[in-house]
Subunit: 416 residues, 2 copies
């Protein structure tokens, strides 16, 4: 079954909001064997909405529209959808009561403007919204479904999970899709591709291999399409295993895991623990690790030592070192890593110190210069990086490189 | 001038990657007075790419295509674009030398597969890529431009900044767009809308007001379209001032700033400093603050105390408190905030402790139960939250609420 997502609102087009909704929807729909073929982000103008609805309705079985359902004037999705379906908006007393209750729950009276929220497409089934005031709508026309959801991520996700997905499960698709993943570290995309070229050549026409590169790593995604799920799974397992055998030790995961998930899982398995001592990354490494469910089994904590006084008082960096070599130096970053390891009693610690920018650079220590240290069971490793991005890119790259260095030292010290 | 963005690649549709490129491109193009009208994400199949290119070329002046330029077989953008333009791919020796140099810079030999990277659309001008191996391309046809860029964010951004934007600046548009922002805290979207309804009623037809709600705050975006930039700016300033006067103290910023940027700017202005003591948010508050350029002037550091031992050793939480009330308790979170404030010598500290999930919940302390404390100059404030999201949503909401509580206490104690 094919789906398209239409997101409505200028904020995405102006780049003020990153569209995280669509990625989340893509994952949820994939689990239902519904495959998103296109995501279209448009302005909240009637003309654009009509055009996008028309085009999507010619291609997809399920069309999910997010955004523009609020009570304010810039929200035109509902009125436009009525035009598209050649129907009208009708007042729904049950929805009005529900919206009033939502306001009552927060001890607020409902502003008059919200009466409009009780206007529902005449051909729609209401998806009651317990997480906000704009109701969702489900419009079924023969074998085609249109789902209208608010754009606020929290409301959209809850409405989808609790209202729309149970209804979508009633649909069924003959076309099956099977996926396999291989996460590799330390081998470039094209070298990897050359080393497995003959295996790729021998793929059946139903199989497709995608290369998803990220700093220092490449994720391979193997996709198989067909009708016989059992047969697809057998072929997928076979192809995946042939790739794994060929790629060898660069393979660090054979499931759809993030690098952080691999680190957490492996550290737990080997009873290793981790702390971070972060200056320029500002807690970003700790944040990524703790986003992984189960991180508390291996991650004990972090010292974000943004100020030099905190490097001294909380990590034991010596004042002489700071004076002589500066905060952005190999000496300091080693003391930071060791300080975190000793004070938090962990087997591993990773430390960063650098100039993320845009300010703070000098001729000797320019913006983007970042030291990383990893302290392990038996040794400390350091590396100097010179990035050329903006502040956020420099932070992201330093974070990725720190995790890669941590992983490499960990693997040296903990061979299976 | 109108633009459309086409992103090519299954990973966005499958939800494995969030499309951050488009938001970044939207911002950059807006600064050039080029307005993104649509973002289309499609699979990397020839049929979809041809359809998207055809549709976009009928509507937009500038079409930016990202993704599918790599050397591997799943990358079909170049060959498909050649079909679209009814031209061919030609070998470019200069590009080949450039790609070889990129490999040489990393002390690697170029795999044969990369010879294909030197194949360039016959009608294109090369955008040389110093940040990766896939060259970008610029195709100009009369008043219309097509820009092809790799999908890797780091490469895409650099190619855009250093190669494409200088060329785009040569274009000019008669239609001008002027924006104004108002960031408000603590007033709901519909209450806000009601309170300014008469001002909105009096808007000229060239003006448009958008409401962008987020947890606890609403951002207003005022857009004006027209030909006379001076006149547009005068009207925008006038309308913005009328809104600010009406909304009053709920206005916390009148520029396009994030909440974190407002906090950093205001703390610096009032010589206030901040530390965080984070358990369930895992460094996410520190990360958001330190993403703001200039944060080092007010942010001294964070203690991410994921393990109880770290709460005791690094923040001075008493073992009796942990035994008697547990880590997720008002008593603990107060001691965490005070501990960070005292040990890092800051005027403010914010602390979080809770159960982000999915594991770790009990009947008494269910998943989503999160305590937040803010320690200020004269007082400590606490609040208990019960969220119902998944792990990432709970972390995000706890982070937002912690920043809101910090802001409210800060404002009480530092009136201008």
């Amino acid at each position: 079954m094919k789906a398209e997502i239409i997101t409505i609102g200028d904020e995405i087009l102006l780049g003020q909001v990153v569209d995280t909704n669509s990625a989340w929807l893509g994952q949820q729909l994939f689990d239902l064997q519904i495959h998103v073929q296109q995501i279209t982000s448009i302005t909240d103008s009637e003309e654009h909405i009509l055009q996008a609805l028309t085009e999507a309705s010619q291609r997809a079985d399920v069309i999910i529209c997010t955004g523009g359902l609020g009570p304010t004037r810039d929200d035109v999705t509902k009125a436009t959808a009525a035009k598209f379906f050649q129907t009208e908006l009708v007042h729904n007393e049950e929805v009005l009561e529900h919206v009033k209750q939502i306001f009552a729950r927060f001890n607020r009276t409902m502003p008059d403007m919200n009466y409009g929220q009780a206007s529902i497409l005449a051909n729609a089934e209401v998806l009651f919204n317990d997480w906000g005031t704009a109701p969702g709508m489900w419009v079924q026309q023969g074998e085609q479904v249109f789902i209208f959801l608010p754009g606020v991520p929290y409301e959209m996700k809850n409405l989808m999970q609790h209202r729309a997905i149970p209804k979508l499960k009633a649909f069924h698709s003959a076309e099956k899709l099977v996926l396999r993943y291989i996460l590799t570290v330390g081998i470039g995309e094209s070298h990897l591709a050359e080393s497995i070229a003959d295996i790729e050549d021998s793929f059946p026409s139903s199989a497709h291999l995608a290369y998803l590169p990220k700093i220092g790593m490449v994720r391979l995604r193997l996709t198989l399409n067909g009708k016989d799920l059992k047969e697809l799974n057998r072929t997928a397992d076979d192809l995946q295993q042939r790739l794994i055998d060929r790629i060898g030790s660069a393979v660090i995961a054979t499931e759809d895991l993030s690098f952080e998930e691999v680190i957490v899982r492996d550290f737990v398995k080997h009873n290793c623990t981790l702390a971070t001592a972060e200056s320029c990354t500002g807690g970003n490494i700790a944040r990524l690790i703790t986003e992984v469910s189960g991180a508390s089994e291996m991650f004990l904590g972090a010292i974000v030592s943004y100020a030099n006084e905190v490097k001294v008082s909380q990590l034991g960096v010596s004042e002489e070192t700071l004076k002589e070599h500066g905060a952005v130096s190999e000496e300091t970053v080693i003391q930071m890593a060791k300080g975190a390891q000793e004070r938090l009693h962990t087997s591993y610690a990773v430390a960063t110190s650098g100039i993320a920018g845009p300010g703070g650079g000098t001729a000797e220590k320019p913006v983007g210069m970042i030291w990383v240290a990893v302290a392990g069971k038996n040794s400390v490793q350091t590396k100097l990086f010179q990035f050329h991005g903006d502040r956020l890119i420099n932070i992201e790259r330093a974070t990725n490189q720190a995790l890669l260095m941590l992983w490499n030292l960990y693997r040296q010290e903990n061979q299976d």
